[in-house]
Structure formats: structure tokens, C-alpha cells
Subunit: 478 residues, 2 copies
């Protein structure tokens, strides 16, 4: 075999059919004249955005490559300046996500993760479903005190699940992800969304929604938020993990021998090593910074960088480890592309136009119908967003205003939109900060994610609107 044909053998071109579909979709939107009121650049960006997301799904190439091509397209076509095209890489959530990957590497590398995983197994390991609820409880306890849902899921829960999966030998690289990891990851992601909806302080931009409601003259407090969310929140927390268990369950369902096994492993591990102590200390420091951060004006990403600095300085994590953590770099690139496009779609006026269009459609309807339509549109338009903050900033205030115009009870309108601002995150693998973190571990395929996400979105809506209505009537919101 000659050198030449050897080289030819390694060419891995884009898959033609998916590529044609993706390009076709993008070009179809591109060449449709934009609706009145939509700027040409905004429409072109929409075409590129839709094609990029379609590319993530149809995968003519891996996501990172599709993202690079998407970024290139925004700049080459003159839709965005090169500065705007690359602006996603300077987004602080992107680096919080990256830091979560790096920190989880330290948790795994030192064995601290395995140790905690064995303790969890000892306590809750008899049934995988129990383990999932146990992790959910941990999230719920941390939630009111930890405003960064990305830090909570990425910095605490995800490293734990990765470690649990490792001790059960469930690894996407070996095709054994479904043994236990896939279920725990998907379930924890969905739980994190619910805990984020339950407290004003459980998600970084919940207070933004409250503030925007305040500007519309509606008083949303920590207390009335919590009270209104309590019953539907607990219902979702009970039902969703069970649903995931039924339809995307783990292969390892019962492990009656797990507690004993874990006990043995813990004895084998012996005392905690210096690396484990350092990692544990770092995570406690991170918890303190993530919980107290707002009072000391320390951003969640800054806190994560502090933790990373401690791990690097103490030598628990090396720069080489960070460079080897390919999941982090992969996620940073594809998520930066989406965050950038979604941000620019708003900046170019597409989202505001969308809001105005909605307003004209629902005016004249009865408030119950009008508000249901409004809130569903608000919910499902999250397919177009790669950030909760961006979605809230762009759409919360106008949609609330329309809801009030058609006669929706003010506090109800403000709270439902605020709850939906969290619940809509179930939809995609780029919906919020935790999504790419969990997706980046490779345990849940994209197809599964989108299907499960769509079904769970319906369940959540039914719970929050259905059970919620009764509850809100009881507490006098309706």
C-alpha cells in the first residue's frame, strides 16, 4: 500500500445526506423573504442558527465542527462582524461550564468521587431509583442557597454521578452508559430544572424575572414565589425521576448487594489521601463562594476560577489534565456558537418582533385562553435560546405586559412565566448552563435528550398548570 492511498484512507468527509438536509433547510429559510418587521440580517442569522441546530441533530460532522462552520457562516456572509461572531467565547457561563468539567476531573482523579459514590451506595444503593431521589434531595437542599444552577449541577451533582457511574463501570466510551449513568444524568438534569424553578434564589436569573415583574408593578417576593411553587414543585420532583426511570431506566435497577460491596470498597480505600482532602476542601470553598457569592459580589464563574486556581496551585489538577479534558473544550466551542447566535438573534431584533407578533395574535381573546397560548409560546420558544437569562431578558417583560393587557391576574402571570423560565430548560441539550455540562459527559444521546425533554416539558406543564391552578386558587393567587 503506498503512502498516498494510506492517507486517502483517513479522510472522513461530512456525511452527504445529513449535510444536504442541513444546508437545504438553512438555504430555504435564507431565501424566503423575511416577514415584515424583521431585518434582513436577523432573518439570515435565523437561517444559520436553524441550520446549526439542525446540524447538531443530523450530524453531518461532530457538533464542534458544525459549530465552527456555523460561526464561519455568520461572519463570511456578513451577517455579523467577526467580533460578534466570536463573542460567545467571552461569555462567562461558557467558562463556568468549562470549569465544571475541570473540577469534576479532580474529583474523579483523586478518588474522592469514588469515595463519596461508595458512601452513597452504602446509604441508598439498593435501588437505583432511590439513589436518584437521594441525589435529587441533595440538589433540593443546596438549591435555595446556591443561585447558580450550572455550578450546582456541574460542580457538585455531575462529578458525583460521573463517579457513581464509574464505580458501576457505566461508561459511554465503552458503550455501557445505559447501565446506570444515563438514567442518573438525565434524571438529575431534570431534577435540577425543578429545584431551579422552586426558589427565587435557585437560579441566577430568577431574581431578574422578579425584578422585571416589579417594574410592571407586581410584587414577587422570595416567600410568595416559594409558596406558589411548593406544591407543583414537589409533585414534579416526585413524578419526573419516576417517569425517567420508567422510560429511560437504568439496566442496573436493584443492587441489594451494593451497600455491602460499597462498604468493602471503602475499607479497601483506607484513609483519605492528600489529593482527596485538597479536592474536598476546594469543593467546600466553592460551596461557600457559590452560596455567599452574591453578598460579596463574587460571580459564580469567578468562584469556579478560584476553585480551579486552588486545584492547580496545589497540584491536584495539572494544566495537562485540563488540556486533556476534551469534553470541556468540545462543549466550550459548540455552546459558544449557540450562545452567540441566540444572543445576536435578540440583538438584531428578531425576538422583539416575535413578541410583538404574539401580542397582536392574542388580543381580544379571553384571558385564560390568551394566557395559555402566551405561556406555551413563551415556553416552546426556548428551542431558540441557549441561555435562560437571555430568554428572560428578551421575552419576560413583553410577554408579561401582554398577559396583563388581556386581563391575567398579575401575580399569577408573573409567577407562571417565571416558573416556565426554568421548566423550559428540559427541551434541549443547550437550553441552560447545566444542559451542556450533562450532555458533554456523553451519557445521554441527543435524540434521547430531545424526545425525553419534549415529553417531560408536557408533564411539567400539566403538573404546574393543572395541580398548580388548584393550589393557586387555594392560596388566593387566582
Amino acid at each position: 500500500m503506498s503512502a498516498s492511498s494510506q492517507n486517502d484512507a483517513v479522510l472522513k468527509p461530512a456525511k452527504i445526506l445529513p449535510l444536504l438536509i442541513v444546508l437545504g433547510l438553512g438555504l430555504a429559510i435564507w431565501f424566503v423573504p423575511p416577514p415584515e418587521g424583521v431585518k434582513e440580517e436577523a432573518w439570515k442569522l435565523l437561517a444559520i442558527f436553524v441550520a446549526t441546530v439542525a446540524g447538531f441533530i443530523a450530524k453531518p460532522l461532530p457538533m464542534g465542527a458544525v459549530a465552527i462552520i456555523g460561526i464561519m457562516a455568520t461572519s463570511l456572509t456578513g451577517t455579523l462582524s467577526i467580533g460578534d461572531s466570536l463573542s460567545g467565547f467571552g461569555n462567562s457561563v461558557i467558562w463556568l461550564i468549562g470549569a465544571a468539567f475541570f473540577i469534576s476531573r479532580a474529583v474523579i482523579k483523586t478518588g474522592l468521587g469514588a469515595r463519596i459514590a461508595y458512601h452513597l451506595m452504602k446509604l441508598l444503593g439498593k435501588r437505583t431509583l432511590g439513589l436518584s431521589y437521594g441525589l435529587g434531595l441533595a440538589d433540593l437542599i443546596l438549591a435555595p442557597a446556591m443561585p447558580s444552577n450550572t455550578a450546582r449541577e456541574g460542580g457538585i451533582i455531575m462529578p458525583l454521578i460521573r463517579s457513581v457511574a464509574e464505580v458501576y463501570e457505566s461508561d459511554p466510551a465503552k458503550g455501557t452508559e445505559r447501565k446506570i449513568g444515563s438514567f442518573l444524568m438525565m434524571s438529575a438534569f431534570q431534577i435540577n430544572i425543578i429545584t431551579s424553578a422552586m426558589f427565587m434564589t435557585a437560579m441566577a436569573s430568577n431574581p431578574l424575572a422578579a425584578k422585571l415583574a416589579g417594574e410592571a408593578g407586581i410584587n414577587i417576593t422570595w416567600g410568595n414565589w416559594f409558596l406558589a411553587a411548593l406544591v407543583p414543585g414537589l409533585a414534579s420532583l416526585a413524578i419526573i425521576p419516576f417517569f425517567v426511570y420508567k422510560f429511560y431506566g437504568p439496566e442496573i435497577k436493584k443492587t441489594p448487594e451494593a451497600p455491602e460491596l460499597a462498604d468493602g470498597k471503602l475499607k479497601e480505600m483506607g484513609a483519605m489521601s492528600k489529593g482527596e482532602w485538597l479536592t474536598g476542601g476546594t469543593i467546600i470553598l466553592l460551596l461557600v463562594l457559590w452560596i455567599g457569592g452574591q453578598s460579596w459580589s463574587i460571580d459564580a464563574t469567578t468562584a469556579a476560577l478560584v476553585g480551579l486556581a486552588v486545584l492547580l496551585l496545589s497540584g491536584v489538577l495539572t494544566w495537562e489534565d485540563m488540556l486533556n479534558e476534551k469534553g470541556a473544550w468540545d462543549t466550550i466551542v459548540w455552546f459558544a456558537a449557540l450562545v452567540m447566535m441566540a444572543t445576536q438573534l435578540n440583538a438584531l431584533g428578531f425576538i422583539p418582533w416575535f413578541g410583538e407578533t404574539m401580542a397582536s395574535k392574542v388580543s381580544g381573546l379571553e384571558w385564560t385562553t390568551a394566557f395559555l397560548i402566551l405561556s406555551l409560546v413563551y415556553f416552546y420558544s426556548h428551542y431558540m435560546f441557549a441561555s435562560q437569562t437571555a430568554h428572560i431578558s428578551a421575552m419576560y417583560a413583553p410577554f408579561l405586559a401582554i398577559a396583563l393587557t388581556v386581563g391575567t391576574p398579575p401575580v399569577l402571570a408573573a409567577l407562571v412565566l417565571a416558573f416556565f423560565s426554568n421548566l423550559f430548560s428540559s427541551l434541549t441539550h443547550y437550553a441552560n448552563g447545566p444542559a451542556p455540562v450533562v450532555f458533554g459527559t456523553g451519557y445521554v444521546s441527543m435524540g434521547r435528550w430531545w424526545v425525553m425533554g419534549a415529553v417531560i416539558s408536557i408533564i411539567n406543564i400539566v403538573i404546574w398548570v393543572g395541580i398548580g391552578s388548584f393550589w393557586w386558587k387555594m392560596i388566593g393567587l387566582m
Copy 2:
């Protein structure tokens, strides 16, 4: 050996003495009260910037780790917002540099680089010095037509040298970098600086200098720039590679058998593979875009992304290859930190203050002395910059204004500052776009880079001011 002590063994903490020196230096500046006219944040940022650069040199940890800690420090201390702290990652030059690494991987992977390297060996391989001048000639020919010096060095010359080094088995990973790679890299980097100085269109921000001169009423044209630079430029091109050869020469100096050997290898390689054709075609496309880019308003980074997209779509380069190209990610991180700090140092008013201070010092001196001082300060203040554009934007106009006030002949003042805006790039491994690209290949150590850079800066100044003066008198500039 227990698991615990095994884990302890892998801790690689920061080296204490270098760490203390770096922290000491930073804290010393931090706690000195800022001079009058300098904002406290600007002074704090200077402390972090100096500590970061000192950290790059003293290396308590690898550069990437130092950069992460530096970014963390700017945000944790409240010196910069987290958004500003991370803004370097959105800088377009950073991604041009990254793209250069990825493209060079394709050149190496397909064997195209080796093929061209063998052709070069066949033509010029008898003497390594000849090879270096040959590569310099290629740079010189491309320079007037290719305004991005980063694209020229990173996209064309660097991949070639990497391939040449590979066929000579000169590889930093094996400790054989000095065989031929180190010399060729350092020499090509210095040549690229000179070619950038010689034509208004050979460096992306040369036209900016000309425009700023125009705003001061001085007419700088492509022609008078070229004419003034011609003699000192050719002198530098002749002398500098020879100097590098004498003091940082390759171990392989003469290879009389190289042409024959190369010929044999070329026969062995046979016809060009599909991957080579595709890579070659991509590079020709890149050359067209980089050369014609300005007329079609295609940014150099956009062009690089187009090339990258072609390589990805055709399967020459895979996303996995990109993730594995650790030099790219390493360079992206540490360079982003420096670019961010240097940009913010200007934004916070430190550089403007520095300019005003200079003005007061030189007023009243004779113009020859005053302008010599001014231009040297302009030159060596580049230790504080990670971008030629940033340095020119911040300092060119004020320094030109002061030079005119003290009576320097206008065209001379404008041109010397413009030439120095390129020549100052010899100093550091972060001085301009090409610097991190070349440094990132690992062929030249940082110590060597700084020492050679300092000495070459003096040689260039002597050539351009010394030989330049005679020449400029002849053509009537003085």
C-alpha cells in the same frame, strides 16, 4: 502501596520559590501607591499583569495555569468585571492563531508538508542557512499582498517549517528541537517582523498607523512607506537570519546529501494523495482570501475559518484532530489572558497616562534627542502589549503628536514610529499574532526567546536608525 499513597504521588504543586517571587512582585506593585493620575484599578491590573508575565517566565506552573490564575485574580479582586476578565477569549486574533495550529495539523497529517519540505530540501537543502533565507524570500514575496502577518506566519510559513523539522527528525517532544527546528522557527519569526515593517500592506494595522499619521496632517502612502523601508528592510533581512544562525544556529548546518535524499523521498511518496490535493487547494483558497480579503471585506480570521470549514467538510481534518491539537488550546488560553490584560490596561487609562508622562519629560529637549528617547520608549513599552494593533491604537497618535511638538520632521516621525510598530515585536513570545503561533510549537524556549529578542531589537534599531538615517537623508525625508 495503598490507593491513598498512590494518589498522593501524583500531586504536582506549584514550585514554591518561583511562586513566591511572582506573588512578591505582584504584591509589591499592588501595595505601592499608584502615581498621580493613575486610577487604582489600572495600577492593580498592572500588578496582576506584571505578575502574570513574571509567572510565564519563572513558571511556578505551566503558562496556561498561570493564565487561568491571572484571569481569576483580575475578577476576584474586583479589578475587572468577569465579562471583561474573559473578553480575551472573544478576540479575533486569538482564533486566527488557533486556526493556524489546526491548519498546520492538516498540512502535516496529509503529508503535503513533508512533500513541500522535500522540495525545499532539494532546492535549498545543502545549507540550513540557505533554507532559512529561502523561507524568508517566500515571506517577503507574500508580504505586500497579505496584510495578516499572523496568517502569513501561522498559516503558511510555520506549517512548512514544522514539516521540514519533522523530516529532519527535529522535535521538541524528543529533545531534538535544536537540530534544525529552533533555528528555522526563530529566524522565520524575526524575518516576518521585518517583512511586516517593509510594506504598508504587510501587517493588518500598518494602515491604521498611516491613517493616524494622516489625521496629524502627514501624508503616508504605500509608496513613501516602501521607499523609506526598502534599504533598512533589506539590510535587516540580510543580517538578522545570519545573526540567529551564529548565536542560535542549528545542529544540522550542512547537508550536502540533502537534495539527493529529498529526491529519493519524493519518488517514494509517489503521486499526491487526495488529502494533499485538498489541503493544497485549501491553502491556495486561503491565500486568495487573505490577499483579496480587504477588497471583499473578509477578515483574516473569517478566511481562516473558511479554510478550516473546507478541511472539516472534506474530512481532511476531523474535530477529534482539533481537540487533540493541544498546542492550539494552550495558546488560546494564555494569549487570551495577556491580550485581555493589555487591552484593559489601556482602557483603564494606564497607557494614556504613560504617554502624557513622557510628553512632559521630553519637552524642551532638542528634537534629535527627544525623538530618540520617544521612539525608544515607544519601542520598549511593547513589553506591556500583546498586540501590535493595541499598541498602535493606544500610543501611536500621542507619541507622534509629542514628536511633532519637539520639532521632528513629520514624515520621518510618522514612518519611524510605524516601522517600530512592527520591529518591537521581536521582544516577547506574546508580542504579536505570529509570536504565540511560533512559540506554541515548542521549538524555542522562553528564555532564549526573550534574550534573542532583546538583542535583535537592538540590532534592528541600529540598522533602521543608523543605515536608515543615511538613506532617509538621500531620499529627502530628513
